[in-house]
Structures are given as structure tokens and as C-alpha cells.
């Protein structure tokens, strides 16, 4: 019985192909939009999440400056107001899990006939722990390298790619940074892009003291550009921030109410707000796409109503030869459901195809999750039932005598 009705539904759809196709198109576009939008939204969310976890969790960065020299302020991070001792003091605070003082600059590096310009980061071994950054090969430098300011380097993937190429193993090779020879100890794992789109793998990490004394020089011995602080937990963040402010104000002799010569930035909060933004965006995209799904559903209802009117006589004949009301109801409901499900399947295909094209042409990440496909499918099927029910009931409630007389 059911298969016979399914056959009838298919038959009826085939009877007016253009109309069926146009009705279906509403569904196709709706589902396609939902699947595509969700893929883009989820892709954005995933890439933000990855950036956040790549950055390391529960992080602060303490920046030096802004310096105020006789009323003229210069850029944050330029004044030599932070030093290694500040970092050591912060490490003693409650709730602090790790501290890494950082100094940085740009330099030209050379290996053989290749050269490259990249960020040089001078820091302590704890930097890698704080940033949850691992080595893909080799090993990291140790505290002893800090003490003796050895010329060793950890190089990022992009740097390795550009000066060594694919064929040469960088480990143990000597590169030149600002003409000084450095031995490559290890290659850093890939971190990908940062939140602002910077390639985090385009970097070299060297011991802090080496950078200070042998690469960039220093106005004040021991000064650093920034100190990265990791709190023990999400909950400890507020307490830690307060602790850093109090400690540094005291150490730098800043009077109450006066401007600090440093600033503390909560990186996690920035990252979270970025995540929040993408979540809102993907929700908004989904909502807009859902509207087209709704419009598609209304299109189905519209056509089903026309179809019921057109086929009034057929309904009368069926009733006369023994169709029950629920047989008629099922027939039209099934037709609406078949239209919406077939439309939905095509829509999923188009949505997935569109997502692939988007990822190819815009190089952004898209994720087509099974969930989004299942959601689109079940929503489409429910729309078929919901918008098909009223016309189907109208058909089932027809008076057989009047239906038979209908011209």
C-alpha cells in the first residue's frame, strides 16, 4: 500500500515536471544555503579555536611602555621598562604557572645561497611550555644556554622551508643570523596563522641572552620587550592580572594614580571575543539561510494547494472507489514529503559542492559536519510534513459528490 502510494507520488511529480522542479528549487536553495552557511560558519569557528589553542591558554602579555618622556608618549613596547628581574618576580606570584620574558627583532638569515628575513625571538626555554609549542624534530635549548648566551636557534616551519628546502635536514646545520653563525637545534611544530593572520611559523627562537647581547644590542642590560605570563587556570586569571599590576607598580615605583610604564593584556579574552564573534556570525548565517528554507516550504504548500484543486475530480474518483480520508491525506502528504526530501538531497549536494568550491577559491576553512547535513535533512522533511499537511487535509476533507462533479 505504502509503496503503491510512493509510486503514485513519484508519478504525480513526473506529470508536471517543470512545476515540480520549480517547487523543489525553493527547497534546494534553502537546504543548500543552510549547509553552505553552516559549513562556512563552522570552518571559521574551528580556525579561531585552533588559533586560540595555538596561542596557548590563559595567557597575559605584559608590554613595556608607553614611555612618557617629558609629556611626549611613544609606542607601547618600545621603552626598556621591563627586564628579566621583573619576569622572575612575576614567576613568584600566586596563580602563575609560567613566565617567559621575550625580546624580538627582525633579521636577515642566510644558509648557503638562500637568504630570508624573519622575526627573531629571544626568550627562555619556558616560552615553549607557556605557548604549548612543541618541536617536530631536534631539541630545545636549556637554561645553561641562557647563562652562556650560546648561538643556537629553533627555527619555524616556514623558515626551514625557505632556507633549507625539502631535501636538507636543518638539524645541526649552521645558519647565519646578522652574520653570526647559529647552530639549528630543533625545528618547531607548525602553528599556522595567528588570529590576525600572521604566519606564526615564520620565526626563529634563540636564547634571550644571545638575542640581547649578540643580535639586537640593548639600551639597558637585561631589558625585554614583553613578558608572557600563563595563569594556572581560567579562574586564576583575574587574581593574576591584579597581582602583576600591583607587583610591577611597586617594582617600578609608580605612585598611585600615575600612569604605569607597562600594560597587561589578556590574550585569552581577546581570543574569546574573536570566538564569540565567529559564533554569532555563523548563527546569523544559519538564521538567514533558514529563512530561505521557510520560503521553500511555503512554495511547497502553495503548489500542493493548487495541485489539490486541480485534482479535485481525481480525489472524487478515488473516494468513490473506496479510498478512505487517510488514504487521500497520505497521498498528498507523501507527495509534499517526497518533493521536499528530493529537493533536500539535491540541496545537500549543492551545499557540499559549494562549500568545497568556497574552500578552493577563497582558501578559507569550511567544515561540512554530518550534524549540519542531518539537521538540514530533518528540517526539510519536517517542512514537507508541516506545509504539506494543510493541503493534504483539505484534499481528504473534500465531499466526494462535489469532487466528482468538479470540472
Amino acid at each position: 500500500m505504502f509503496s503503491a502510494m510512493l509510486g503514485e507520488a513519484w508519478h504525480a511529480m513526473g506529470a508536471n515536471r517543470l512545476r515540480t522542479f520549480l517547487t523543489m528549487l525553493g527547497m534546494v536553495i534553502g537546504v543548500g544555503a543552510v549547509v553552505l552557511m553552516m559549513a562556512i560558519g563552522q570552518g571559521a569557528e574551528a580556525s579561531v579555536k585552533r588559533s586560540i589553542s595555538a596561542m596557548g591558554s590563559n595567557l597575559f602579555v605584559v608590554l613595556s611602555g608607553p614611555p612618557n618622556v617629558a609629556g611626549a608618549r611613544s609606542a607601547t613596547g618600545n621603552a626598556p621598562s621591563l627586564n628579566v628581574k621583573d619576569a622572575n618576580a612575576i614567576a613568584e606570584l600566586d596563580g602563575v604557572a609560567g613566565v617567559a620574558p621575550v625580546t624580538m627583532g627582525k633579521a636577515q638569515i642566510v644558509f648557503g645561497s638562500n637568504n630570508w628575513n624573519t622575526d627573531i625571538l629571544g626568550t627562555t626555554p619556558s616560552y615553549l611550555d607557556v605557548r604549548s609549542w612543541y618541536l617536530s624534530s631536534g631539541y630545545a635549548f636549556a637554561d645553561s644556554d641562557i647563562r652562556s648566551a650560546t648561538r643556537v636557534a629553533l627555527i619555524g616551519k616556514t623558515v626551514a622551508q625557505n632556507i633549507f628546502g625539502d631535501d636538507i635536514d636543518p638539524l645541526g646545520k649552521t645558519i647565519r643570523i646578522k652574520q653570526s653563525p647559529f647552530v639549528v637545534l630543533g625545528v618547531l611544530d607548525s602553528k599556522g596563522q595567528s588570529l590576525d593572520g600572521r604566519d606564526q611559523d615564520d620565526t626563529i627562537i634563540v636564547p634571550l641572552t644571545t638575542a640581547q647581547r649578540k643580535l639586537f644590542g640593548n639600551q639597558l642590560p637585561g631589558s625585554v620587550r614583553q613578558i608572557i605570563v600563563q595563569a594556572e587556570s581560567d579562574k586564576a586569571m583575574a587574581m593574576t592580572e591584579e597581582g602583576i599590576n600591583g607587583l610591577l607598580n611597586q617594582r617600578h615605583n609608580i605612585r598611585e594614580g600615575a600612569d604605569s610604564d607597562f600594560s597587561v593584556r589578556n590574550l585569552t579574552a581577546i581570543a574569546n571575543s574573536a570566538a564569540e564573534t565567529t559564533r554569532t556570525m555563523s548563527l546569523l548565517l544559519g538564521a538567514i539561510a533558514s529563512v530561505s528554507l521557510l520560503v521553500g516550504g511555503i512554495g511547497i504548500m502553495n503548489i500542493m494547494l493548487v495541485s489539490v484543486t486541480e485534482r479535485t475530480r481525481e480525489i472524487g474518483i478515488r473516494m468513490a472507489i473506496g479510498a478512505r480520508q487517510r488514504d487521500i491525506l497520505m497521498q498528498f502528504l507523501l507527495e509534499a514529503i517526497v518533493i521536499s526530501i528530493v529537493g533536500c538531497l539535491i540541496g545537500i549536494g549543492i551545499g557540499v559542492g559549494g562549500a568545497v568550491l568556497v574552500s578552493i577559491f577563497t582558501k578559507t576553512e569550511v567544515i561540512v559536519s554530518t550534524n549540519s547535513v542531518l539537521i538540514a535533512f530533518s528540517v526539510a522533511a519536517s517542512i514537507g510534513v508541516f506545509f504539506g499537511f494543510y493541503p493534504a487535509r483539505k484534499a481528504a476533507k473534500l465531499n466526494p459528490i462535489e469532487a466528482l462533479r468538479y470540472q
Binding site: S3, G316, M319, A320, I321, R324, D327
Partner: protein, 243 residues
């Protein structure tokens, strides 16, 4: 569904039947105290001018409409008091309809058209097609089972409709002006087919306003102003068959 053995010989028993139509000016009586009994194997022509109530009576006999008052027993079922789904079952299994306008489904093949009532009896496809094929052969259209209704003549379409009416082995065939859209030669052929079916024992009730068509029936019932005014045997049939 209660079946009464005493009435098994009686296919239709109508007693004190009234039907009013609700109009803006109040109820308008269409059938007034109609009584009719049709035995198994009978062949009845219902006649009367338009507005006499014969179509309304036919609709009630076909379980498409319900009387305002009175009793209608069809093959042991007290149809007037049954609920809608059960009535659909009666229409499906007990009655075969033949209409003036043939009323075939234009998009379906002749085979599917004839097999359609069986869909609503819950019979599987191979059996449906087997039975529909047998009947199409019986009405002389065995070669056209895959044609569409618009590919055959009116007379042939009416044969298909008759095959459809027969497919569920009904006790009763209700034909509403079955020759109204046909020329006289084809009409004769269709009436001959009805005659054969009646010979095989199927009860036939026929609505017509043409006297020469009514002559084919064994018994003629005439309506006027919502009442039966005449109930006679056709001359060519013997009186004993009815009494």
C-alpha cells in the same frame, strides 16, 4: 460490520428514506419517504426528470451521501449509521461505480486504472495487476493494458470503467447515465455488456433518462418530485422474476 443472513438475498433495502438539502431558505426536501427493495441478481433502471431526486438517491445508494432520515441497508450493512472509514470500505468492496463521464485517471495506464480499487483493499501489486488484466481481457481490451485513457475511444473508456467497477468482485454495480456520452451503437454494446454481467449474477442499478436504455433493465423505477411514482417490470421480462 454486522451481516444479517436473513437479508443476504436482499442487496438493497431502503425504508422511509428522507433527504433534505440545507439552503439559505431552510431545509429543502429532495427525497420524501422512499421505500425500495432490490434483490440479488436484479437489474433496475431508475428513471425520472432532472430534479426528481434520482441522482440524490443514487448518491445515497452509492454511500457517497447520507440520508437525513430513514434506513438504508446495503448487503447487510446499515450504512447510514456507519463511520466514514467503514463506509469507504463498503464502497471499495461491495459497490462498483460506472459514471457518465467514465472518470478514469488520465495519467495512469488502463491496467493501473482498473487495478486502483485494489490498492485501497491492500492487495499486493502482482495480484492487482493479474486481476486487472483478466478483467481488461473480459471487456475486450486485453491488448491495450498499457495505453492511456486518452488513446482509446469513449466506448472503450467506458469498458475500462466497467472493468474497474468489477475488479473487487462487488455484489452491486451502480451506473449513473453510463451511455450518456456515447453514440447509439456504442451504447448498445455497453448495455449488452451490462446484460452479460447481470446474467452472471451481478445486481445492477442504472440511472438513465432514456427509455430505450431503461428497456434493457428487468425493472424500471420512476422518480418524480422526490417520490417513487412507478415501479414496474419491463415488458420483455417475465413478471415472475420479480414477484
Amino acid at each position: 460490520m454486522q451481516k444479517n443472513n436473513i437479508e443476504a438475498k436482499t442487496v438493497i433495502q431502503v425504508s422511509n428514506l428522507y433527504k433534505d438539502y440545507q439552503t439559505a431558505a431552510g431545509p429543502f426536501p429532495v427525497l420524501k419517504d422512499v421505500n425500495l427493495r432490490i434483490e440479488n441478481g436484479d437489474y433496475v433502471a431508475i428513471m425520472g426528470p432532472s430534479g426528481s431526486g434520482k441522482s440524490t438517491f443514487m448518491n445515497i445508494l452509492g454511500c457517497l451521501d447520507k440520508p437525513t432520515k430513514g434506513k438504508y441497508v446495503l448487503d447487510g450493512h446499515a450504512v447510514a449509521t456507519m463511520e466514514e472509514n467503514a463506509v469507504a470500505g463498503v464502497r471499495n468492496k461491495t459497490i462498483g461505480f460506472v459514471f457518465q463521464g467514465f472518470n478514469l485517471l488520465a495519467r495512469s495506464s488502463l491496467l493501473d486504472n482498473v487495478a486502483l480499487p485494489l490498492v485501497y483493499s491492500g492487495i499486493e501489486k502482482p495480484e492487482r495487476h493479474k486481476r486487472a488484466k483478466v478483467l481488461l481481457e473480459k471487456v475486450g481490451l486485453g491488448k491495450h493494458i498499457n495505453s492511456r485513457p486518452n488513446q482509446i475511444s469513449g466506448g472503450q473508456q467506458q469498458r475500462v470503467a466497467i472493468a474497474r467497477a468489477l475488479v473487487n468482485n462487488p455484489r452491486l454495480i451502480l451506473a449513473d447515465e453510463p451511455t450518456g456520452n456515447l453514440d447509439s451503437v456504442t451504447s448498445e454494446e455497453i448495455m449488452a455488456l451490462f446484460g452479460e454481467l447481470n446474467q452472471e449474477g451481478i445486481t445492477i442499478v442504472l440511472v438513465t433518462h432514456e427509455t430505450d436504455i431503461a428497456e434493457h433493465a428487468k425493472r424500471q423505477v420512476r422518480f418524480l418530485d422526490g417520490k417513487i411514482v412507478q415501479d414496474t417490470l419491463t415488458n420483455s421480462h417475465s413478471l415472475n422474476e420479480v414477484l
